[in-house]
């Protein structure tokens, strides 16, 4: 129905957005990769990478993985619980879903400040609660494990709503007949979850993984406040220098490589899911 002239108009309408993204995302990304392989005097070299590794070692990379994996695990667990709660009709569901969405709007840095206040060693509410329960107060920022826990809790508090939203929209697409049939066949809630809910939602799980996984690799503002150990992002930030940005470019390029590998893995998972569901139909 569309005449060729209309189609050209359509391309013209899209052009500003495309040029914008190419100019402000792709070119700078290439510049960063290019810069990372050069020295301040413009010679081609791997100096920046050697500098990054000799200064920080591999711990920023390992820490980034640990933070990403544990944050995703907690967020998906809670999001599945909240989404299955909200997928059923009951009086007051609207109020609950509005409450659960609130952290989505609270700024990342505010969340960081809040959890910093709650878990501070002096004047922290977490320790008050522990004391009221006749337990020993904990030096939350003192060790790797506890500061990791605080970071994960803060990040999950802020970001679980978005995971819940995506999972919820997937959950409501599953026909309830499937569950009814499974129950007739004697499947319990856990087996229904793993044999019906999860396989039918792989596409939505992939979307949520993509959205959250990429931001998790990029976790920055909260980590600056809550995590006294280096991540790829905080390392890159520490290297950032307006005079010589090349070492920071190296850190940023490592981060970019990890994000792209992660995204490729998730897309692979999605494309396999696509095949499975088309076979099913």
């Amino acid at each position: 129905m569309v005449r060729w002239k209309d189609e050209w108009t359509a391309y013209v309408l899209m052009l500003p957005a495309i040029i914008y993204v190419l100019y402000l995302a792709f070119i700078p990304a290439l510049e960063a990769v290019y810069g990372s392989f050069h020295t301040a005097s413009g010679e081609l070299s791997t100096y920046n990478y050697r500098f990054v590794l000799s200064t920080f070692g591999t711990s920023p990379i390992i820490n980034t993985f640990v933070v990403t994996a544990s944050a995703l695990l907690l967020q998906f667990t809670v999001a599945f619980m909240v989404a299955s709660l909200l997928s059923k009709p009951f009086r007051g569901r609207g109020i609950f879903s509005a409450i659960f969405l609130i952290p989505f709007g609270v700024a990342t840095i505010v969340t960081g400040v809040l959890f910093h206040d709650i878990f501070s060693t002096f004047g922290g509410y977490a320790n008050t609660v522990l004391l009221d329960l006749h337990l020993k107060p904990v030096d939350w920022t003192g060790s790797y494990g506890t500061s990791l826990l605080v970071l994960i809790l803060a990040d999950s508090w802020k970001n679980t709503p978005i995971v819940t939203l995506v999972l919820l929209s997937g959950m409501v697409t599953i026909p309830s007949d499937l569950y009814a049939q499974a129950m007739v066949d004697g499947a319990g809630p856990i087996s229904r979850f793993f044999h019906i809910t999860v396989p039918n939602m792989l596409g939505f799980i992939a979307i949520a993984l993509m959205i959250r996984g990429i931001s998790e690799f990029n976790i920055f503002a909260m980590a600056l406040l809550l995590f006294p150990h280096e991540l790829l992002t905080t390392m890159t930030y520490a290297l950032f220098d307006t005079v010589n940005a090349y070492p920071a470019d190296a850190g940023a390029t490592i981060l970019l490589a990890f994000v792209l590998v992660f995204a490729a893995l998730v897309m692979f998972m999605r494309s396999r899911q696509g095949k499975v569901s088309s076979n099913g139909k």
């Binding site: 990304a29 709007g105 840095i109 709650i118 939203l165 999972l167 503002a221 994000v259």
Partner: protein, 279 residues
């Protein structure tokens, strides 16, 4: 929906579950209010602050506004300005791109959407550094416009996507009728399609506004001299600043945004967010 849950007894589990999760969501916000309004000796000034303070004061508020008045207002204004520029550009570029996407073969539109989303996969820090050096050269460094142009990258793909979703719900026949009646492509776009797409456009505007209000990474690198509110909060909450002031600022940032989120909750039914990606 699911038959097993129709029994009246099991409904209690929903309220118990709902109450537990609501408590987890609300408790940090409770502390935010307490720290801002209770006497410092009963909050962060105490070794083990009481969970329910008894002495309240407006001193924290007063100190935050008197000592930092001009910086605070400047930061607030910069955040507002940036967020409005981001949201406006998002709608301007996003609406046209989204309409274009619905008019071309699916294969190509999918490719273009993929290209747009690929840009959000590039970490902000990776591109913030080259962008800031370009902005220094062309004089956009530390300006609200420059910051907005960078933040737009995070927002634009999502905006295109949200609006595409809402455009798909507009019946095609309306547009064809307008064309039969002699409207041009562009007239059909602004007179027929745009008014019908308003709910999606509003949702996209609010979401971009919200995301810009929250943005930290670009702001800390591209606009460090005249900070936005998130950066100001960060500076106040670290060792150099006054943590009470930081908390008051945090509360100030949070109130408008919670109201916005509740408005948005009507639009943000995940299906919107994922409709296009699954397609």
């Amino acid at each position: 929906m699911v038959s097993e849950y129709k029994g009246p007894r099991s409904k209690y589990y929903f309220y118990i579950g709902g109450a537990i999760f609501s408590f987890i969501v609300l408790i940090p916000l409770y502390f935010l209010v307490i720290i801002a309004f209770a006497s410092p000796s009963q909050t962060l000034g105490a070794y083990y602050p009481p969970l329910i303070p008894t002495k309240f004061t407006l001193d924290n508020l007063r100190a935050a506004f008197s000592g930092y008045g001009s910086i605070l207002i400047a930061a607030f204004y910069k955040s507002l300005e940036t967020a409005f520029i981001v949201a406006s550009i998002a709608i301007l570029l996003g609406f046209h791109a989204a309409y274009g996407l619905t008019k071309i073969p699916y294969r190509i539109s999918n490719l273009i959407l993929g290209l747009l989303f690929f840009s959000t996969m590039i970490p902000s820090l990776t591109i913030a550094i080259p962008i800031s050096s370009t902005f220094i050269k062309i004089g956009l460094y530390d300006s609200a416009l420059g910051l907005a142009l960078a933040q737009e990258l995070v927002v634009l793909p999502l905006t295109v996507f949200l609006i595409t979703g809402s455009l798909e719900s507009v019946p095609r026949t309306l547009e064809y009728q307008a064309r039969v009646d002699g409207a041009t492509f562009i007239q059909a776009l602004y007179r027929v399609i745009f008014p019908l797409a308003v709910p999606g456009v509003v949702a996209a505007f609010l979401l971009s506004w919200l995301m810009s209000w929250d943005e930290f990474t670009f702001a800390v690198i591209i606009s460090p001299v005249h900070p936005t509110l998130p950066i100001l909060i960060y500076l106040e909450s670290t060792a150099r600043g006054n943590i009470f002031t930081g908390t008051v600022f945090a509360l100030l940032v949070t109130i408008p945004v919670i109201i916005l989120t509740i408005i948005l909750s009507k639009f943000l039914r995940g299906s919107y967010m994922s409709a296009g990606i699954t397609g």
